[in-house]
């Protein structure tokens, strides 16, 4: 199905179009990351409707738009967004592969200090894995950490 020309259309309206016209895509990928040494590993799961929109192309704004809005929100005294038009008027990104979509989502929804310096420590701060590589049950969930022996251990968070 061809995506309508959406530049200038409110992003929310585009998402409504995507929900009505696209088949949700439940990804097998998960993003495991640690943003604090005092906290357990976090697991980011893509939304199936969002992934469908990413794979389709022509719907989502460039990820940099979200960074601009985040900068505005971080200003002292922030009350409300005044540059929401960036979401709606910026040319949408083309169709992505599932791997590219995950990279986009990491840069959108993971803390910047995690993905910008994901490999700066003794072990990765962020790992993309398959759902099957996570522990099968949630036992000791609040103690899960990224394994320090990724190369030899198929379980990346345990």
């Amino acid at each position: 199905m061809q995506t309508p020309s959406f530049q200038g259309t409110h992003l929310w309206d585009r998402l409504c179009w995507a929900k009505e016209n696209l088949e949700p895509h439940q990804s097998d990928y998960r993003v495991v990351y640690e943003d604090s040494i005092d906290e357990c590993a976090k697991i980011l799961v893509p939304d199936p409707n969002w992934m469908a929109a990413a794979l389709q192309g022509g719907i989502l704004p460039p990820v940099q738009v979200y960074w601009e809005l985040a900068k505005d929100e971080a200003q002292p005294g922030f009350k409300k967004h005044t540059r929401g038009y960036l979401l709606h008027n910026t040319k949408p990104v083309e169709a992505m592969t599932e791997e590219q979509a995950l990279e986009y989502l990491i840069m959108k929804d993971c803390p910047q200090h995690v993905w910008r310096e994901w490999d700066s420590g003794n072990k990765p701060k962020l790992v993309i894995c398959k759902k099957e590589q996570l522990p099968a049950t949630r036992e000791w969930r609040n103690a899960w950490k990224i394994s320090e022996e990724l190369a030899t251990d198929k379980t990346v968070a345990a």
Partner: protein, 130 residues
């Protein structure tokens, strides 16, 4: 966009009229239904980009189309499919953001609330979009 109707008012032949801004303002801007046990995943949703499992009974939903401010209204329910879910509640986290909504799920046994991973979590966000 095909099928677009531009109107400020909807009028019924006998029941009166309603300003369409009530429809726009009153509609949920984001909602999601997910299974929070195992690896959480959305079953169905609108305007969600991802769900992050932060630990037992602790989640962050990220929106695709951000809210205009952090004063939006959020509501949620959770349960595990049993008759024992009367004390199960969703609590909004202390950190508010326009692009995401953090919450915890707890279950009260006796007088002690404890974090838990429900098999069924529903949330709905009302407010103004950016």
């Amino acid at each position: 966009m095909a099928g677009k109707i531009v109107a400020d008012t909807l009028e019924h032949s006998t029941a009166g009229s309603v300003d369409t801004q009530f429809v726009v303002n009153g509609s949920a801007k984001a909602w999601g239904h997910m299974n929070g046990s195992g690896t959480p995943a959305y079953g169905d949703s609108l305007n969600m980009a991802s769900i992050t499992d932060n630990g037992t009974g602790n989640y962050t939903q990220a929106f695709t189309s951000a809210l205009a401010n952090v004063s939006y209204s959020a509501s949620g329910t959770n349960g595990d499919g049993s008759a024992q879910t009367g004390g199960a509640i969703c609590n909004r986290s202390a950190v508010y953001a326009t692009g995401s909504y953090g919450f915890t799920t707890t279950f009260t046994t006796g007088s002690t609330p404890a974090a838990y991973d429900p098999s069924d979590v529903s949330t709905s966000i009302n407010g103004d979009l950016a």
